[in-house]
Each structure stands twice: as C-alpha cells, then as structure tokens.
Symmetry: none
Subunit: 146 residues, 4 copies
C-alpha cells in the first residue's frame, strides 16, 4: 500500500473530517499563473489590483480551491479515490501571506455505489474563503475469499 492514509468506501462514515493547511506566498501565485496561464492583472499587477475593490493583488480562486483537492487526494479518502465533481463558491479574497486551511467532511456515503459526498471549505482562521461540495468514487475493501 503506497499510502496508508487511503480509505475504502467501507471505512467512510458521515462526519469524518480532514484538514490541510498552507501559507499562500507570492511564489504560489506566480507559479500558478504559469501553470494556468492566468495572467489576470488582479493577481500580478499591484497598481491595477490596487485600483479594484480588492485594493491589491489576490490569489487565484482556483489556486485556493486546489487545497481541497489536496485533502481529498492525500488524506480523506486519499489515494485511489476518483474525483467526480467539485463545486466552488468564492467567498472572500486570499492574499500572499494568508494561511489557508482546507477542510473536508463526509456528508453522504453510498457503499454499494462506491460514492462519497463531502462538504469542502477553505478557511483563514474561522472565516470561510471558499466553500463547496465534492463527490468521489472510492473502491470497496477487498473481500476475503471463502
């Protein structure tokens, strides 16, 4: 087993939760701009961004949302799960220097369908900056042969 953190659908229960935290830096914003190609000046140009309602550069919303994928793919359910869908609501801006904590909580488990639904959110302290919902397919625990 590559990663002992991975769960089978049989192991998941409503209410289980996991977290991943990361400080968003200038370097994250720059590298994400390169990977996505998103050079919107609200992320890269302080003079422009300072003239907007955000009053300065902000991180890409999808960069922040990607931390949710990190928890799902590495902790709960972990490797082996297949990402089916993700919804994201962008509630508040995140800036370089902010520490964001992504939290996922199991809300529905359908063992036969191998399908789990999770409430997903990103927080700075207690304040939600991204919210949403994820659905994944998770394999069943191998059954002992009779």
């Amino acid at each position: 087993m590559v990663d002992s953190a991975a769960y089978y659908i049989d192991d998941l229960e409503v209410g289980m939760s996991a977290v991943f935290g990361k400080t968003i830096t200038e370097a994250d914003i720059l590298m994400f701009s390169g990977v996505s190609g998103d050079t919107n000046p609200v992320h890269l140009d302080e003079e422009y961004a300072g003239s907007t309602m955000f009053e300065g550069r902000i991180a890409h919303g999808i960069l922040v949302g990607s931390l949710i994928s990190t928890v799902l793919g590495t902790r709960l359910p972990g490797p082996g799960a297949v990402y089916v869908s993700q919804s994201l609501k962008f509630m508040a801006p995140v800036r370089a220097g902010d520490t964001v904590r992504a939290r996922v909580t199991v809300t529905e488990v359908e063992v036969e369908k191998k399908r789990v639904k999770l409430d997903t959110g990103c927080f700075i302290g207690d304040r939600a900056v991204v919210t949403g919902e994820a659905v994944l397919m998770v394999r069943r625990r191998p059954q002992p042969k009779e």
Copy 2:
C-alpha cells in the same frame, strides 16, 4: 485601461464564447503539486499510477479546470470581473503531453444584477475532459453624465 479584452456586463450577450489552449507538461504537474501540496501518487508516482485504472500518471483535475479560470479572467469577461462560483465535473483523465482547450460560452446575462453565467468546459480535440458552469459579477459600463 489595462486590458482591452475586458467586457462590461452591458456588452455581454448569450452565445459569446472564448477559448484558451495549453499543452499540459510534466512541469505543469510538478509545479501544480508544489503549489497545491497535492502529492497524490496518481500524479507523481508512475509505478503506483500504472497499477490504477488510469494506467499511468494523470494531471490534477483542478489543474485542468484552472484553464477555465484563465479564459474567464483574461478574455471573457476579462479583467475586472469577480469570480462568484465554478462547478467542475471531471469526465476523463488528462496526461502530460495532452493539449487542452478551455472554452466558455455565455448562457445568461442579468445586466441589472451585474451577473453573468457561462457554460465552461475543457476539451482534448472534441472530447470533454472537464465540464461545468461559472458565475461572475461584471461591472456596468460607466454612464455618460447628463
């Protein structure tokens, strides 16, 4: 005006469309892993990934979805628009070397509410790999003073 590609809500019409294309490389997957912290072995470990249903490493779904944000933030509606929400359905895996084209198409415009809805998708050739829907707030065209 920093970017002449930016639209006002008054300029948007149902059916308007824009595209951004990018070839996903090993470097994209590596840098996205660094930025997101998502070290799921299905993205990074060929031996592990080869043993899964994907039969080899795949790009992060959110990395692929980020190209949608690029079209929205740089072309349609362009800089100045505020990202409200994005839904993503992950339809098929993307691998290093695949060229992905993100396309967004306006489906609803509410001028008074300054709100636009777009159909969003990522494609390899004609095949959808990510689908979804975006909502953004877009400022009104400045009115001439009487």
Copy 3:
C-alpha cells in the same frame, strides 16, 4: 482563431500602442535565476548587493525586458508574429515590489515586407527603466479569392 488580439500587418498603423503591467516579486527573481542560470549575487545576495552602488538586490535586466516580449507576443502584434530583433538599454534598477509597465508603440509598418518596428519601453510610473526597439514579421491578412 486562438487569440482574437492578434493583428495582421495590414491592420497595423503607426502610433498603435499596447501595455502589460506586472509587479516584480522575490519569486520572479528566484525563478528567473533558475531558468537563466544567472546567479549573479547582485540579484540573490543581499549582503553583497548592499555593498554595491545598487544598495540592495535588483531584478535581472533581461527579466524586466521580458515584459516587452509579453506585450508583443500576446497583444500587439499578438500571436503569429515572429520576433526578429530587440534592443534593450538598461536605464535604472528594478527591485522586488516595483510594478513595471511595458509599453510598445508602432513606429514603422512595411506591409509588403510584412515588417513592423516598435518603440519599446518599461516604466515604473513615468520613469523609464528599460528602453529599446523591436522588429517583428507579421503575416498578411488572407486575401479573398476572386
């Protein structure tokens, strides 16, 4: 058409202008050092750089000049143009935190030769930090068949 911002040589006129702005960060200087291999301590070593006439680390001149290439390649003339030459004069240092605006202005158009010359400069506010001139080849507008 991939990028509607691209111009044909037939569309270009003396005086046309475009701009791209970006805040130069520590991360830009670091990543540019990695890509170029330019580990000159005036860019990376605050103690050394503090002892020079620059009194602190400065960005690579070519990093700053690269913003000119960005305007040329993405806005004016845009994708499809072929970069023939670029001259750069380094007028003043740029530091992490400075917002630089690259501006290009068409100064000569030779439609038959498919050749455009542009005045190119990078500015912090009104102050030029890099100046120079660019030449590009730009394709002709496809002619309707008779």
Copy 4:
C-alpha cells in the same frame, strides 16, 4: 570578494571569451511564461504551435537570450559589472530538449571610460540561434596608495 571570477576593466582584453551552457526544458518554458507573463500560444499550445511555421512549441526568444546575461553577470566580466545595453537578433527557434551555449567575446575595451563591448551569441552546436552585442560598465582595479 564574493566571486573570484569577476574582472576589473584593467584586466579585460579584446578576444577574451566565456561560455555558459544549459539544456532548455519544458520546465524552463513554463516558468519563464509565469515570470514574464508571456502566454503566447506558440510557447504553450502544441496544437496551435504545430500549425505555425515553427511546427511545434518553441522557447521564448528572450529566455534564450537570457543565457547571455548569465555569462556576462557570472563569468565575463562577472559580478560588479553594470549592464548598459544588449541587442538580440533571433535567428532560429529553440525547442525543449535543445542544449544552448551562450558565448561572449570582448571586442572593445575603454579603460578610462570603464566600458567594455562584447560580441554575444547563443548556439546549438555550431548554429547561431541568437546573436547580438552587449555593453557593460566595469569598475577599475583599486590603485595602491602611495
């Protein structure tokens, strides 16, 4: 002395030469796109680039030219020299996987004016891909007090 490779203007002679070589990778192109903001599809989108005269993605010309700055700033004349100007002619495309060697050769030394001119070029094997000329200011050797 931080870097023993640095020369004083008094030490420079016409014909002196130095070289820096680097293999350009997908990662270089991606990171340079982020730093410069240059998302021209000829660098990032294999489908688009394949339809151009380049028949595939190419590195940014300024990325290739940046290797010249590396030789100047780290080897000849080395740290402490001040970059005055650089001209670049883009002769041939460079692709991920190509190993480029930047070579600079002193062509003029004006000791009193503390000014050196160098012939500068980037090569793949014997083939020039970028050519040009650089001018730098180089400090005088400290004189022993009488």
